[in-house]
Each structure stands twice: as C-alpha cells, then as structure tokens.
C-alpha cells in the first residue's frame, strides 16, 4: 500500500506528508449538556469502519491545511465518494 492524499491546496501527495486527525464527528459540541457519555463519544469513541469513511487530515509537512477526505480503510486508498459503507 502506498497512501496518497489529495490536499486541496497542494494536490496529490505522499500520505506521509500528512497527519490523520480522526473520524469526522462534526463540530465541537456546546459545553452545556455534555454528559460523561456524550463527552466520551465525541472525544474518544470511533466507528472503526472497515470500508469508506470521512476523516480529517492535515498537510503537516506541506501547506498546513486541515481538510476532509474519504478513504477506504480496507484498501488504504483515498476514494472520491463516501458511499458503499460495507
């Protein structure tokens, strides 16, 4: 495998220029109403999808942008579309 990631600024680059930033869990929740469970869900829990998922990456050795891509975690390749959850 050899992951490449398409940075919205720099284009397609070697995956090792990037750092993974987690499954996409949406915006940061408001503090009020967060229970230990819902806090834990946002901070620590993952769906661990074996298949395609939307996730965050930062181009750490490049332009520094944060962005999302869809990636197939079974093949470890970036994919264009989010569908086909296994």
């Amino acid at each position: 495998m050899s992951l490449t990631i398409t940075c919205p600024i720099c284009g397609k680059r070697d995956g090792y220029e990037f750092r993974f930033g987690g499954e996409d869990k949406g915006p940061r929740p408001d503090e009020d109403g967060l229970t230990p469970q819902s806090w834990c869900e946002y901070v620590h829990l993952n769906e661990c999808v074996a298949g395609r998922q939307k996730e965050w990456w930062v181009h750490k050795d490049g332009c520094g942008s944060w962005f999302t891509i869809h990636r197939d975690s079974v093949m470890n390749v970036e994919v264009a579309t989010p569908e086909a959850h296994k």
């Binding site: 230990p36 869900e41 829990l45 993952n46 661990c48 074996a50 470890n76």
Partner: protein
C-alpha cells in the same frame, strides 16, 4: 515416533443450531478463552466462528515477543501470569510452544527515558518481576552488536534488561490451543463468517453466520483488530479504538548473532533472532486507521535506517520478507475486557494494540472465568470500557492523547 498423521483439530463437524457460548474470531484470545472455558469451567458446548482460518490474523503476524515489563500495576501482574503460563501450557497441551527465554533489552536514549525505565523497573520489581537498568556499556556487553557511539540519531544511554521475557513460537500457540480446546469438545468452525449478533430485551439471543443461525445466550467478540468494527457494526457499541496496520519483517537466516530481544521505543524498532536464524524486526504503525495487511515502502526503508544506526552490523544482511497485521489501539494502551454491561450476555476482549500475543493465554483465562461466573474477576476489572468516560485512562503509556489515533 510420530505415528499416523491425524487431523490436529479432530474430525470436521456440522455447525449446530445452538451453543452455550459462541466466540467470534478464531485467533489466540478466542482459542485460549475456549480452552479455559472447557478446561477450568466445564463449559464445552462452545463454537468458535472464524471467517478465514485459525491464526489468520494477529496470531500469525505478531512479534512473538513475550514480556512482563509494562508500566502500571494493573498490567504487570497480568503479564507476569502470562509469562508463567508458557511452560505450563507446553506441558498441558503437550505441544512445544518453543519458549525461548532469552530476555528483553529495551534501549533508552535519553535521561528522560532512563527515568521512565526506572519507574517501570521499580514497578516490575515491586511485583516480583525481574528487570534491571543497565548503562550503555553494560548493554553493549550483553549485546555486542549495539552501537553505543554518540553519532546516531538516538544515542544509547542505557537499557532496561528484563530476563524473564523472550520469544514464543506463535504458530505453535495457535495450533496447540486449538488442539487443546478441540480435545475438550470445543468446535472450531473455519471459513465461517459471523454476520450479525441478535439481541432481545437487552440480552443476547443468537448469532447469524454464513452457515446459518446459532442460538446462544453468551457471545464473546475477540476478533483482534476486527473486533471494534464488528462490535460497532453488529451491536452499535462504539469503542475508543483505532485500528492500525503494524508491520514486521525478517532478514535471511544467519548463524546466532543476537541472543536477546532488543527494542527501542525511540527508533520504533525491535530485533531478535528466531530459532531459524532470521533477524525478526519491526514494528511501525502508520498512524491512521487501516484494515489492510499490505506493507509499505516507507517502513521497510525506515527500518533499515534505524537498524543501520543502532545495530550497524545488520547492514550486511538482507531483508527477505515483510508482512503486516492489525493492532487495535486504545488511547491508554491498555485493553478493554468487559461484558454483561451494555448487553446481557455480550462480552468483549479487544484493544490489545500490539500486546495481543503476549497476553493471549491470561486474557483467555480470565475472560473464561468472567463468562462462566458472569462477573469480572478482580484481575481484569480495571480494564472496563467505562474508564474512558470516567476520565480514568490507565496510564499504560505516559504519552498525551492529541488526535486519535495519535496515542
């Protein structure tokens, strides 16, 4: 001397429509749990459901290194017991697990690391586990191939020497446990995929497989790297797990050169010599979730660069084969052993990261007790899932969590 060649796992059987216990995953933890369920608790109506073949996953892809020099008091006794079990199991299973008690040398590359090692060593000694701190010269005397000069990326300051550790032949453990479990009547169904776990009123009722439905009231998912995905997919329970691909490789075989397991956290590298003479070395993880067991060009080069620095004689050797497996990492580098909580009759044993091999027997032993008695034994109580929402990470790693799976 050897007699006729009998099938190791007994004759094939048909899948029944119900079992007392169904275990999803045919790896080491499942086999060990089934073995102890049968042997210690008399629960023999057990089906192991394996999509591929036994030992296909982490069981056959791991470092084969065993040790009990973990960081916290919750972990050390567990791993100590695991170490003590290898000779016992070799005897009980009548299968040579080939425990090579060569000792582990964990290199330290800074004053800060020496301090961390001191704490780990004190913890080990406090729990009656042998471990010692060596300076660089002593480490070199033990492992003459070490480069203790200053002109490398991470100069060696010293090492943690852990004599009780070593290497166990991982395939032998798979086959030995399978043989042992089958002897008691445990059924191992390979090439059989579990597709769903059904619950009713918060209780387990059945498991769907590619070969039909099985009624049961107790299900254990201990499917290594695949556990988190299965548990979420089948039961909707999310876990604080990131599944990463971890790689290892061997060189061509060589006459004895390394007599210990040598490892270095800073270089993300361990090396030891197998009984066959290969230098087995790993283990790097790409820091993003993966279910691929392919390898990367990046890593084999990285490994060569690292070994060139701290074991420079190995530059004259050739890499022969690189492979990979999955490690289900938790934020605190400690596993999740839980059950009868979210769903009655549902148990899970996962999150071992890259410690799944060295822990398999003891985890199986205590999970069997948990499932037989319905309540977690004290030894594994701290490893419950709720610790994360209670802000009680276990501290098995000192490193701070920033983004998953950066832990």
């Amino acid at each position: 001397m050897f007699g006729k060649y009998k099938p190791l796992l007994g004759e094939k059987t048909q899948l029944k429509s119900s079992y007392d216990v169904v275990i999803i995953g045919g790896g080491l933890h499942s086999l060990a749990t089934a073995y102890f369920l049968a042997k210690e608790h008399g629960i023999t109506d057990v089906a192991i459901i394996e999509k591929n073949y036994i030992g296909f996953g982490g069981a056959g892809r791991n470092t084969a290194i065993v040790r009990a020099n973990q960081r916290t008091q919750y972990n050390v006794p567990l791993y100590k017991e695991a170490l003590d079990l290898w000779p016992v199991l070799t005897k009980d299973l009548d299968y040579n697990l080939m425990f090579n008690n060569c000792g582990n040398l964990n290199l330290m590359h800074s004053e800060a690391a020496m301090k961390a090692a001191r704490m780990t060593i004190a913890t080990a000694q406090f729990h009656g586990v042998e471990s010692h701190l060596l300076d660089a010269k002593e480490a070199k005397e033990l492992v003459p191939a070490l480069n203790i000069s200053e002109d490398i990326t991470f100069p060696i300051h010293g090492a943690m020497f852990h004599p009780p550790g070593g290497i166990v032949r991982h395939d032998a453990v798979v086959w030995g446990l399978a043989k042992g479990a089958s002897k008691y009547g445990v059924e191992i169904h390979q090439q059989t995929e579990a597709t769903a776990v059904n619950t009713k009123n918060g209780k387990i009722v059945s498991v769907e497989t590619s070969r039909g439905t099985i009624n049961t009231s107790k299900v254990l998912i201990s499917a290594g790297g695949y556990s988190a995905s299965l548990i979420y997919g089948m039961l909707g329970i999310k876990l604080p797990i990131s599944v990463l691909t971890i790689q290892a490789m061997v060189t061509q075989p060589l006459k004895p050169l390394l007599n210990h397991v040598v490892s270095s956290g800073a270089y993300h590298c361990y090396a030891n010599q197998t009984l066959k003479g290969e230098i087995a070395t790993g283990a790097h993880m790409d820091q993003w979730p993966n279910y691929t067991t392919q390898t990367t060009a990046h890593y084999i080069k990285h490994q060569a660069e690292a070994l060139s620095e701290f074991l420079p004689c190995l530059r004259g050797l050739r890499f022969m084969r690189i492979w990979s497996g999955l490690a289900d990492m938790t934020p605190d580098m400690a596993p999740i052993l839980d059950g009868n909580d979210q769903i009655e009759g549902f148990f899970m044993n996962c999150g071992w990261g890259y410690f799944g091999f060295k822990s398999c027997t003891v985890a199986g032993k205590y999970m069997a007790e948990f499932m037989a008695k319905g309540e977690a034994p004290d030894m594994i109580k701290p490893f419950n899932l709720r610790r994360y929402e209670q802000h009680k990470l276990m501290g098995e790693t000192a490193e701070l969590v920033t983004y998953t799976p950066n832990n």
